[in-house]
């Protein structure tokens, strides 16, 4: 039922969009019109860390490309983040556990191959199979048979395919999950669930050097480490056709150089304005600078395996620390308002209907030095008289804000040594120390959502032994509420349950939330209709080039 209404909505929106481009006159294959639908834009890019495979890409740079060359069953609306049907005609379930997925007719890959139910089932089986080393394999963990294709203890896998996936006919397949998961259909917009053509399996190396998908763009050439040239696919069957001739993604090691190139007119689009330029960016670019909310939240986590931090009563100390941080001032001065002080543990991009609740954190996130001092004293003081905030110093501007946070804490507590930063050289080493449970105090944690669901902001981070529960926080009541939320068949009630679970996180101050991160981008005068989606990735197919 939900699926059907969404499909209508998408069709309507697409019709409007098509009419709009038709008026612009540029949307054709001639490329001669005034809007110039054939012009190519250039955009900054980072070298993807992993090979470009849907189930193996877990960072933004690779994800950006997958977003351009693939379309999955669902797609997240560029503005609202809502999961809308893309290739899915219908996703039916009666028990939130068995799903029958019907896909639309008429979709092909850019090599002409038809997109069928098998394209999805094969791709998912590939992603879940341990022998393929896919880093996003856990996205398939709720599907029945995952433990056979991907035994967690690393033993020999006893099956190559997921028993929960069955192809019914060309356009239909069924999914059986190991447990109830009401919001499962909404997760299907994630890139890991993209369909794959047969050439991916038959000639894997060739596919990797020139990926073939079913999205509005095709890969024209790919020089690894330098440039990926994408061109508009003229026969793209979807409604969201590209409004430009293509995109050249250029690898930059330093986003400062990309910004300089934008200023010099050698680059059209920068989707990561360097922190050092935030002061000038408005003067440099005027309204060609975008700063919109993205599904990213930054927090401080705690090592609950450490007896100092794990003991009872420490929630007061954590709350005290939270109240000692002047979020307003730090986001204003260091981040030039490209981040917003938090009031809950999710993100504004979810919207009120999706589970974002402004003010949920309440007083605990308000700056109040006196209360902070009192709370920390009541909780027994800082362990060892000092907190060390661990962070990786190689990327982002972590050093600056950690120093600012410590400064704020020190001022609030009238103690120069209450808080110090503890830098770790590289991200890999930082992750290493976390996985080996070597943290002795609070540490930086960032969370970029995989899909715009409140579930994604809570379960992976705070559920007992969840994949990103780095502090090893565990709370029976939280776990119970999450389980109940997942079993809830009505989405709205599921969201409410998740919010109840979030209140447990708040009452224990499981992690100190700091700020919501915005996506920021700047573009040249040649471009118009530039926007960022809730994942802070430019909506490339919307961009017009003059």
């Amino acid at each position: 039922m939900r699926g059907a209404t969404h499909a209508r909505w998408v069709a309507g929106a697409a019709a409007v969009a098509l009419a709009a481009t038709a008026c612009g006159g540029g949307d054709g294959d001639s490329g001669g019109g005034s809007g110039d639908g054939g012009a190519v834009l250039s955009s900054s890019w980072g070298d993807p860390q992993n090979p470009l495979e849907p189930a193996n890409t877990n960072e933004v740079q690779g994800g950006k490309v997958l977003e351009m060359i693939f379309r999955g069953l669902k797609r997240y609306d560029a503005e609202t983040g809502e999961a809308k049907d893309m290739l899915a005609e219908e996703i039916e379930t009666t028990d939130s556990r068995n799903f029958t997925i019907t896909i639309k007719d008429g979709w092909t890959f850019s090599n002409g191959e038809k997109v069928t139910a098998k394209s999805f089932v094969d791709a998912w089986n590939y992603g879940a199979s341990l022998k393929n080393n896919q880093k996003n394999a856990y996205f398939f963990e709720y599907i029945e048979g995952y433990d056979k294709t991907h035994p967690d203890d690393g033993s020999e896998q006893s099956a190559d395919t997921l028993s929960g996936l069955k192809v019914v006919d060309d356009n239909t397949f069924t999914v059986r999950l190991t447990q109830k998961f009401s919001t499962f259909p909404d997760t299907l917009g994630y890139n890991a669930y993209a369909p794959l053509p047969q050439s991916f399996f038959s000639d894997h190396d060739a596919w990797l050097s020139k990926p073939v998908g079913n999205g509005p763009y095709t890969v024209e050439s790919y020089t690894k480490g330098s440039q990926l040239s994408l061109r508009k696919w003229d026969d793209y069957p979807g409604e969201d056709k590209a409004r430009n001739g293509g995109v050249d993604l250029k690898v930059y090691t330093d986003n400062n150089t990309a910004y300089t190139d934008l200023m010099a007119g050698n680059l059209d689009l920068v989707d990561d304005v360097p922190a050092a330029q935030l002061k000038n960016v408005r003067a440099d670019l005027g309204d060609r600078y975008i700063n919109t909310s993205a599904g990213i939240i930054q927090t401080l986590s705690f090592p609950y395996y450490d007896e100092n931090w794990g003991k009872d009563g420490m929630e007061k100390v954590r709350e005290g620390l939270s109240r000692a941080i002047d979020r307003e001032q730090i986001t204003d001065t260091i981040f030039q308002k490209t981040r917003t002080p938090v009031t809950d543990w999710t993100s504004p991009v979810l919207g009120a209907g999706g589970g974002y609740e402004e003010g949920l954190c309440g007083d605990a996130c308000e700056y109040d030095p006196d209360a902070a001092k009192k709370l920390i004293e009541e909780g027994g003081g800082l362990p060892g008289g000092q907190v060390r905030i661990t962070y990786n110093a190689d990327t982002g501007s972590h050093r600056q804000w950690v120093d600012a946070v410590c400064n704020s804490v020190n001022n609030a507590l009238d103690n120069d040594k209450a808080c110090v930063g503890n830098p770790v050289g590289t991200f890999a080493d930082y992750r290493n120390q976390i996985t080996q449970r070597k943290m002795s105090g609070p540490f930086r944690a960032g969370w970029q959502m995989d899909y715009p669901l409140i579930q994604n902001f809570l379960q992976p981070l705070y559920y007992t032994n969840a994949s990103s529960n780095d502090g090893k926080w565990s709370n029976a009541e939280f776990d119970r509420l999450v389980d109940e939320a997942n079993a809830e068949e009505d989405t709205q009630r599921a969201v409410e349950k998740f919010q109840q679970a979030e209140r447990v996180v708040r009452d224990n101050m499981a992690a100190i939330p700091l700020w919501y991160q915005n996506g920021s981008a700047g573009y040249s005068e040649r471009l118009s209709d530039v926007s960022l989606n809730p994942f802070s990735v430019p909506v490339y197919e919307h961009i017009k080039v003059s």
Binding site: H150, G154, G225, N432, S468
Partner: protein, 307 residues
Amino acid sequence: MGRYVVRRLLQMIPVFVGATLLIFLMVNVMGDPVAGLCGDRECDPATAARLRHEFGLDKPVWHQYPTYMGNVFTGDFGTAFNGQEVTELMGSAFPVTIRLTIVAIFFEIVIGIILGVVTGLRRGRPVDSGVLLVTLVVISVPTFVTGLLLQLLLGVEWGWIRPSVSSDAPFGELIVPGLVLASVSLAYVTRLTRTSIAENARADYVRTAVAKGLPRHRVIRKHLLRNSLIPVVTFIGTDIGALMGGAIVTERIFNIHGVGFQLYQGILRQNTQTVVGFVTVLVLVFLVANLLVDLLYAVLDPRIRYA
């Protein structure tokens, strides 16, 4: 001569092994690189174990190093984390950095030696003091300042050059980055040449040559310069290796995808295969350059003969 070369080549072996072993240990000390591969979340243990096995990280270091070196001698430098062969990365990175180094060395030789000769022959005059002052400034200002400043002025303000180098990196686009890369060494070459020329200008053989009535340019070129260049050649020779490895800063500023870019990427991702592979080749370049310098001595000064 032949025996000397053989002896030098044999000496290279322990240096080579020692240098690569050190780098290997340093990268390994930083811990398990697989931890950083899955982003802000823990890799699932089964996949992490398989990745570790694939990259040979599940074996102790004393086992990894010989295996790695054994592979290197068969031309297999392993695979980077993004699935590319390290040799493939080298194939794209080294030509770019070599071009950049050639541009830098060219500037060092031409500008550095000309300035050195001019100032050496006119010591104490305004030209000399002026150049000395400029070289002092160049030496004391860090490369990234010169680089960013030139990039901003020439690239953005005046629009004479592109602020970043395209992925093909032709010679034309490498002139400014090459000059930036060469700047500090260039200043040293100038000073070295100047001192050497000034010293030799009073030497007996120069006086003899002048007394013989040889034309001035001939005295300078054949007698004075030839003898004065020995320390300069030594410096330039060793500088080749330093320039190639030290291009990290310059390459980053101008977005040149050469050796510096790959090394930086490799270090950030703690990719042992990339870092050790590239450093291995750089060590070889360094050693060969040094050998060539020593052999050039004999050409420049026939009194130096190797038994």
